[in-house]
Symmetry: D2
Subunit: 312 residues, 4 copies
């Protein structure tokens, strides 16, 4: 269960409160503000603050006063132009802050994106909850035979059952031992008065990488889109991709014009090399080109064919 | 004049508009939102957006839900603790965006602070206004004889008059020639139809460093405080210090608890070296210590004495 | 003259000295180490230190010990793969430090690239030299009529002569007045004993944006390539592009495999949007597509046609 | 065992090779280049590349050519001045690259320092080794009762034995199950031909936080010193502090003047608040001050007394 009853009550209370502001405000994002969108078995993503909107990007690009006289149509054209030509600084003028609950092995990938502000729950200071990510059966994938980072067929039958059992049992046992080593009762006093209890900063090291942690994560829109272009991509590991997908929905509410441009130019687009462009030009001129005559390696050729066939 | 009539009208209109939001809101900062605080002869600083408040820092430090049950007194204690022990990440959870009009030589110092987002008016794309910083007479300082970066006495009489005349005449002449080279009439057509006009990206190089530019500058509270600790300091050049002072006033409105802690621990505090601490300990033990016996260089000794006499 | 006689002597002495090292060393780059490559009329770029080579990138990608057993062919394949798939962190494992002399208006564009370390000559502390960028006659371009950031025809005849005269005269006069305000004689004493002299931090503001400054600029290879992809591009202003071109030559010496991959995938490549790819697919299927039926704006259509015709 | 026989052979071979270079070179650091300094039970730190030396900082501060004419004495004075006044950019002109083997829970703290370049061993791509951090008996600390982040007494007797047994058994069992789920034989083929094996990116999540990982970590000297000031500090967790201590030794070899200044101004120094300075001034004037009359909180008073008594 991602959210406890007490947390749900706090969130509801926070959502009840309304303030008056002169700042740019996005009603579609306000609608879901503070709400936790469930991700995986115990995780969530929720927006807890934001700054700016589509118009703030246009305004920064024009470094002008007020909302200007341009129509929405023009704003969209300018945002598309900025996205197309990688003029990234106006997108940095918007900021968003998320509260995320996620397994530690996902947090380890995520934190590699450095241009962000992070406050994570500290297992040095506090005791982690007994919550572990256990994959749904349809995500229990075998190693891909063609791609060392990819997933192959889904495990079935006895093998699947055995994997799930191992993950559950090891998680439960590790946590039992974590608690035993800590030796803290519910009142903060020793559970077993004859033992001192191991310090938290050491006991935590017995916990497996599928335990859940949580953090506040704040970044600007440019760096968020960069994160999403890598993590909402089909090459990303499923367990981080579902977070990126949930965040993409918040981007759609927040800055709808940017969202459309992002889908068109980033998520659905492709970088073509000089050599790939040369191949395309020869093909468009009516020439039959094969890999041998393309100047591309076998791998690059395959990648180009995927792009040109449109299922990439 | 920092603000044109048209700009003043736009700002007034923007200030009229109110929205409803679920986000943390700071009434004392909303009061001055969009308003331009004048700085130097033609410059200004104005807050155009913000995210977070004192409570957001506490919340991040606790990575907890809701506003919690702690009293304001506890919040202040926690913020002071974070500031004292340089736990900087919670301060990164607040963000602010300024619109600043400033001379280019000030912008050149300012931009050295890299952890910020910037959109500057482009003199490659547009034509700069005829506005130059001319120091007030009481700021026309001579070179300090003791400090190569500092200011000495204020120039007077004929010398002061001559300096002001040179600055004004050179600014005016440079701008006249800028316009002549551009050859653009008020309608965008050539002022002199027999000339083509030099491209803007080249013509701008005739302009002096006291011409005004403007930008949007967005940063998080931690990096803002670092900026202010260096630029609101007495060692900073006067022309950037007045901007920092104006921004410090916005910090006071925005996050008053942080502001107090910042004044106490940063602006009014001092770093003492290991050797300086040794001297203080000997003094407290009743020993008479002089520079020769202190282990400090003459310069370090002077700096320590200034700190201990409290006029530093 | 970019380099004074004294500087040339220092550089020659530094180039004479050789040390023994266990670090990865690149003989082709060592050949030109410390040497100043002239840029514009008084500027230069010179490499003064570097860390890593092509193999360091491969090594980081493999996080392995030693140089490994892979052939150079495999290294090139891996580097090309990393470049193609924007796996950027291995390129961050190489670092380079330049000493650059450049006009202030170029420095103002350059400094917008924030992920770099910079130490600039301080006009607050020291006196700038009397050196100004005056464009060569074939660079005296008119404003482009089609592109607000671009250059059109080269000015000729009387207009060109007038522009050059204005730039030269204004530079010279500004510098004369800078010196007069400073009132420093060659021995550091007042030139005119009856005047105090204006402090350096103020006097500098009379100088125009075409005066030369200099800095040490250090960055990693990934960020350097990003800089070069924007600044060695045909859309960059000529006066910064010539610096980027000179630096591209040092990249060629330093990491030749990366250089080739960079030319292929970045400089000669193109990003295609989802809609542009759809157009290419329809064309390859034999369909005649025009702008109206393409789903692209007129501007996007023009950009796509340029890419597909290969003169982009 | 931190280093395998094969790795030791590779390192020895790498250390045998010498190159000629024109770059600044530091013989004392070259002496240990590539050598692994053991840390904890299976970890290590080793320098694998560096750029710059003490003189490079001086050179950057002076933005001058050549090594200049200043004596070493002056260089030390300048470096101390830069350190004292937090003029940080010249320290950014030096760069160092480490290869580190460390437990995952240490890596999770370390990675919070964002201004660095990192390439970590990927458990998505490769299989981790069977190596776990098990604390030495004298590090098996109880939770501190006075400090929620600190360590108290060392556990003894049966409790200590039980903790060690749990850590060892859980590590071993988790790794056994990791291997079982992976189902990869030494030849890369299925160990059990009737099972497919779980993909690596999922299987890794069964591993505990005390498993070892490794990475290349590169940063500039300024950011390294900031890292060390926090992580070589007595408040840092022991398991990261031992890495910081080992790195501090490399700093001593690399930039001995900076090292001395760092010990004096950072490691051995203390920041005093405005209120703390007021207390010191009153004490020096002969006044008896107690906490109640100090204006300091009980906690701040305790911290100040610790500093003034010199055992801080």
């Amino acid at each position: 269960m991602p959210i406890s009853k007490e947390q749900a009550r706090d969130i509801a209370a926070q959502r009840e409160t309304r303030f008056e502001t002169r700042r740019a405000t996005v009603p579609a994002l306000e609608e879901v503000l503070y709400e936790a969108a469930p991700v995986l078995d115990h995780g969530f993503v929720r927006v807890i603050d934001y700054m700016g909107d589509d118009a703030a990007i246009v305004q920064a690009a024009r470094v002008s006063y007020g909302t200007g006289t341009k129509s929405v149509h023009d704003d969209a054209g300018l945002i598309r132009y900025l996205m197309r030509h990688r003029h990234t600084t106006p997108f940095e003028m918007c900021e968003i802050k998320y509260h995320v609950k996620l397994p530690v092995f996902v947090a380890r990938q995520w934190i590699r994106h450095r241009t962000a502000n992070v406050n994570e729950y500290s297992a040095r200071y506090s005791i982690l909850d007994r919550e572990f990510y256990i994959p749904a059966p349809d995500q229990l994938a075998a190693q891909s035979t063609s791609n060392r980072q990819g997933r192959g067929d889904v495990l079935e039958g006895e093998e699947a059952a055995r994997v799930l059992a191992l993950l559950k049992e090891d998680s439960a046992r590790s946590y039992d031992h974590y608690e035993e080593m800590l030796n803290e009762g519910p009142d903060g006093k020793p559970a077993d008065p004859d033992r001192q209890g191991l310090t938290r900063e050491l006991a935590r090291m017995n916990l497996p990488l599928n335990i859940y942690t949580q953090w506040y994560w704040k970044t600007d829109l440019h760096n968020l889109l960069h994160f999403l272009s890598l993590r909402a991509d089909s090459h990303a590991q499923y367990e981080i991709r579902v977070y990126a997908d949930a965040m993409l929905e918040t981007v759609k509410r927040w800055v709808p014009i940017v969202y459309e441009a992002f889908l068109d130019y980033r998520m659905g687009g492709a970088m073509m090399s000089s050599k790939a462009l040369a191949v395309v030009r020869r093909m468009l001129a009516g020439e039959a080109v094969d890999q041998a005559g393309s100047g591309l390696s076998a791998r690059e050729w395959r990648e180009l064919m995927t792009v040109l066939q449109g299922d990439g």
